[in-house]
């Protein structure tokens, strides 16, 4: 039993050493992930969590601790509201039920820092994304639709890690916060904000 434990320890150390050595040879990373988003912010347009989101990103390692790249993500939020009576800014009174929808698609330049913490098979990082976000805000009632689309500036700080399970492939988990300047005055939306969790797969080459 003791010899088995020694053998197992050697194997684990060997794998870790292998990851350490191979990390220095990586020049880029590409990842695809499923994104769960929780709307936050100063509007009550909708509050329902989105499970319909995703992200694709490419990172180019600059050295052993930094990377720069591009990311594209998207989320669809929608929420049903029972029949209610609303008063518009123009003084009209409207009674209807409705489905409210927000679609966001940020395109960002991303920058990450990789501190040398923990075993090399786990690669934590912190970073930020800066770029533009396309968004649509729609209201659907009966068979009608009222909506608008707009562009805004987006900033996205994030923290996460890649857990390697082979030399080149690993699981990716990221926690982020999106803040964008997209607004819709008619719907009372001054900015769009969301907290996100990404779960996916990363390939390092």
């Amino acid at each position: 039993m003791k010899s088995l434990k020694i053998i197992l320890a050697i194997c684990v150390l060997g794998v870790m050493n292998g990851y350490s050595q191979s990390h220095m040879n990586y020049h880029s990373m590409i990842a695809g992930s499923w994104e769960i988003a929780f709307p936050t912010g100063n509007h009550d347009f909708l509050t329902k969590t989105s499970l319909a989101g995703g992200r694709i990103e490419y990172r180019r390692f600059i050295n052993g601790q930094f990377s720069a790249g591009l990311a594209f993500s998207w989320n669809s939020f929608d929420e049903y509201f029972n029949t209610q009576t609303y008063k518009t800014a123009g003084g009209s009174v409207v009674t209807t039920d409705m489905v409210r929808q927000i679609y966001t698609a940020p395109i960002t330049a991303i920058f990450h820092y990789y501190p040398q913490l923990g075993p090399k098979m786990i690669k934590p990082y912190v970073g930020v994304g800066l770029g533009a976000q396309y968004s649509e805000q729609n209201i659907f009632f009966n068979i009608y639709q009222v909506g608008d689309d707009n562009w805004g500036f987006v900033v996205r700080p994030e923290i996460g890690a890649v857990v390697m399970f082979t030399e080149n492939w690993g699981a990716l988990v990221t926690f982020s916060y999106n803040y964008s300047t997209n607004k819709n005055e008619g719907f009372g939306v001054k900015s769009l904000q969301q907290f996100g969790i990404n779960i996916g797969i990363a390939g390092l080459f």
Partner: protein, 210 residues
């Protein structure tokens, strides 16, 4: 390297498949009319006591289909207005009795026809792909598909006749527009109109003679 590229592409496609833009679930939306009302904030409805409404409705059904309705369905809609006004303390009088308020009421029916050329999967995942049959190219549809959506509106104007002056514009003190899709059942459509009229009065508590 080529193998890795295709693996990455496949993973990206999986990600897209599971999280592509999602259409909302519209099945939850009610078929009741959307009711919109506007009221003249300067009007004092306590100053009015009597009203008149015709037992006919103006009908706008499209090209060469404009007329006046006076059937049982029309009577039901008119009676709904009367019931609400009476409940709020107003008295129905004849047109010749110089009522304080007058009603204009109409119904509009619009049919919108659209034509689409469908793609081979009509937007439904799981549809038979052409490769199932051994073909290499998507299906070709040598036809287009037309569909029609019929919508209806109930429009009501309440006019101040008490303060009306000859040769001067009559003031509309309350208006209702109720819109929605129409089904194939006339009785259902009429009931939607009745419900819309009741809702219009419900969301305008200012209308009261007392």
């Amino acid at each position: 390297m080529k193998k890795k590229f295709f693996i990455v592409l496949f993973l990206a496609f999986l990600t897209l498949t599971f999280s592509c833009r999602k259409d909302p679930d519209f099945s939850q939306l009610s078929t009741n009319f959307t009711v919109i009302t506007n009221v003249d904030s300067a009007a004092n409805f306590h100053d009015f006591q009597t009203y008149y409404i015709s037992d006919t409705i103006a009908w706008v059904g499209g090209k060469d289909d404009d007329s006046i309705l006076y059937d049982d369905n029309t009577k039901l809609l008119v009676q709904t207005v009367k019931d609400n006004m009476n409940a709020r303390g107003y008295t129905f009088v004849s047109k010749d009795s110089k009522p304080d308020l007058g009603f204009n009421m109409g119904a509009v029916k619009t049919t919108t026809v659209s034509i689409i050329y469908p793609g081979w999967w009509w937007g439904y995942p799981g549809w038979w792909d052409p490769w199932y049959w051994g073909w290499y190219y998507p299906y070709y549809y040598p036809w287009s598909v037309a569909y029609a959506v019929t919508t209806g509106s109930v429009i009501i104007d309440m006019v101040d006749l008490k303060d009306a002056q000859p040769k001067r514009v009559e003031r509309v003190v309350w208006s209702v527009v109720a819109n929605g899709a129409l089904g194939s059942s006339t009785s259902t459509n009429v009931q939607r109109g009745v419900d819309a009229i009741n809702q219009a009065f419900k969301q305008t508590p200012e209308i009261s003679a007392n």
